[in-house]
């Protein structure tokens, strides 16, 4: 594989996970409450999408995955706001519960390929792969020839278009009245309540939106890899955090639009870093540890920098 191919592969992966990074951004940076539903809801989006795709509705499948997870988000939010369970625990509870739901959606198995049995002309039962949005897009652009025949590039282009629309919609949404109220709820919930706005409802909307985004990522990945798997969600939250934090290191903390863009950029860069690590013969099971280290490093860096600056100042004063 040439460098270009590697880059395209990394970028297309980054784009696929970008909606997940956006979802993590919404809870972690806007609501300022990390939502641990992510690991479960990523798979939930994937399984629901697989089931609906096999039923023959590929485009609706992506939306169903997102909507189903908005409901999972609703459960988490209700546990937080009505049952007054700690946000972290609420997410873990729903995520754990979703494990069973996911198994059920996959028909009691741990993975499901996007194919269905059909009877061919000879009267034999054969497996036919189901159409996905990527396959449909591929059929559309393949005649253009050249680079367009590359499956990774196709994935990248379609996902890029989807993520661009998604990011633009989110950017607009966060400046509407409900969008701004969600931002304010993360910033100062008491002030939101005293402005006669139901802060619990705003928090609920935010968590539902975030989970829908995460699930959408899972649904896209399901279409791209052509199967759903129970294990795909492990460590997803840490990966999302890593993307958001990498993006923040690059883009700074300026505003909500810059934040959304840097979450997407962070997701891309994160995959490039992983791809480079693979090139250095890093075994694939190292990914989780690497992600964890990135998050820890990025979270401690500002503090570290502050401590170093303080020490430098002290030295300067002494000199």
């Amino acid at each position: 594989m040439t460098m270009l191919n590697l880059l395209i592969a990394a970028l297309s992966q980054g784009m696929l996970y970008a909606p997940m990074a956006l979802g993590v951004f919404v809870t972690f940076r806007i609501l300022k409450t990390p939502d641990l539903t992510v690991d479960g809801s990523f798979v939930f989006g994937m399984t629901v999408c697989a089931a609906v795709t096999i039923a023959g509705y590929p485009i609706a499948a992506l939306l169903c995955g997102a909507l189903a997870d908005a409901l999972a988000g609703l459960c988490t939010a209700l546990l937080q706001t009505k049952a007054r369970i700690e946000p972290i625990l609420s997410g873990i509870l729903v995520s754990t519960g979703l494990y069973t739901v996911n198994y059920a959606v996959l028909g009691g198995q741990s993975n499901l390929y996007l194919q269905r049995e059909v009877i061919n002309a000879q009267g034999a039962a054969v497996n036919e792969s189901c159409p996905t949005v990527y396959r449909m897009f591929g059929k559309l652009v393949k005649p253009m020839g050249g680079l367009m025949k590359d499956a990774n590039l196709q994935t990248l282009l379609l996902t890029l278009a989807i993520v661009a629309v998604l990011t633009a919609l989110l950017a607009v949404f966060f400046f509407t009245r409900p969008g701004m109220a969600i931002r304010a709820t993360g910033d100062n919930e008491e002030m939101v309540r005293s402005s006669s706005i139901n802060a619990d409802r705003m928090r609920t909307c935010g968590v539902m939106l975030a989970n829908a985004l995460v699930a959408f990522s899972g649904a896209l990945l399901c279409h791209q890899q052509r199967y759903a798997d129970m294990n795909c969600g492990n460590g997803m939250l840490v990966m999302g955090l890593a993307s958001v934090i990498i993006g923040q290191v690059l883009g700074g903390r300026r505003g909500v639009v810059a934040g959304l863009l840097s979450a997407v950029g962070g997701s891309l860069l994160y995959r490039i870093v992983l791809q480079l690590a693979y090139r250095l013969d890093m075994p694939s099971y190292f990914v989780k540890l690497l992600s964890t280290l990135i998050v820890i490093l990025a979270l401690t860096l500002p503090r570290l920098r502050g401590a170093i600056a303080k020490r430098a100042k002290k030295e300067g004063a002494r000199a």
């Binding site: 400046f175 109220a181 304010a184 309540r193």
Partner: protein, 257 residues
């Protein structure tokens, strides 16, 4: 049926009822505020001021008694619902504003309860109104509307909080030592603004203060709380004759019991 903006009828609240730590925070407290009246509230720590405010704001549901706002019973109404007609300001200027959002966004959020419908929260029509309000503060904030609230000084943030609390012309304004954390200059300014706005919009106001001068100088009536009851209610002639020294003596006499 009383038609005064705020009518509090024998409000009683106990903390940790039925235990050895039982504390009677409000003891059949009754209070009527005529429309537009500005009342200052004195009382030592634990006299029931905060409990009174919290029951009016809906952060606490009283054991007994009723609270009527403009004739409507709000005793058990959800806090955010009654906030439609109640503005509130605390001692800590950070409590009333969202630091990561701009000044105009903060004002737009506070204005949401009375603003006409619009797609974007910040829009040109409302902004013209916000700019006028900010110019009235005389702090130059009207030229910094895109600045994040967190970058303002305590005095500026409290002045902005005051605007936010009164932006939707509430029926009732509650002030909980809202100038106590400010330097004397800023405190004087915010107090002056408070009086101006309350008078201009004819807002019925309750202001807790520990400053005897403010207690007598600001508003037209002074009440003192002790052990969850109103032990002094001064207005008119009687209040005009009272000096801050005499008031302080009364205050300590009540506190010693």
């Amino acid at each position: 049926m009383s038609s005064s903006p705020l009518s509090i009828q024998s409000l009683t609240h106990r903390f940790e009822a039925g235990t050895v730590n039982e504390k009677l925070a409000l003891d059949r407290l009754s209070l009527e505020l005529p429309a537009g009246q500005f009342v200052t509230v004195l009382g030592s720590n634990g006299s029931g001021k905060t409990t009174l405010f919290n029951t009016i704001l809906g952060k606490l549901i009283p054991d007994e008694g009723r609270i009527l706002l403009d004739g409507e019973d709000i005793t058990r109404q959800k806090d955010y619902k009654r906030a439609l007609n109640i503005g509130c300001l605390y001692q800590n200027p950070l409590r009333g504003t969202a630091p990561d959002m701009t000044i105009e966004e903060n004002l737009a959020l506070a204005y949401t309860r009375k603003a006409s419908r619009s797609f974007f929260a910040v829009n040109r029509r409302d902004n013209r109104y916000f700019r006028e309000l900010l110019a009235g503060l005389d702090m130059g904030l009207e030229n910094r509307m895109k600045t994040k609230m967190g970058l303002l000084s305590g005095g500026q943030r409290q002045a902005a909080s005051l605007l936010m609390a009164t932006i939707a012309q509430p029926k009732l304004l509650l002030l909980d030592e809202h100038t106590a954390a400010l330097d004397p200059g800023a405190a004087e300014k915010v107090m002056h603004l408070t009086e101006t706005i309350a008078r201009r919009d004819h807002i019925t106001t309750l202001m807790v203060t520990h400053d005897m001068d403010y207690a007598l100088r600001v508003g037209s009536r002074t009440i003192m709380l002790d052990s969850g009851r109103i032990v002094m209610d001064l207005s008119g002639e009687e209040r005009a004759r009272m000096t801050s020294g005499a008031l302080a003596e009364l205050f300590y006499a009540k506190g010693k019991r």
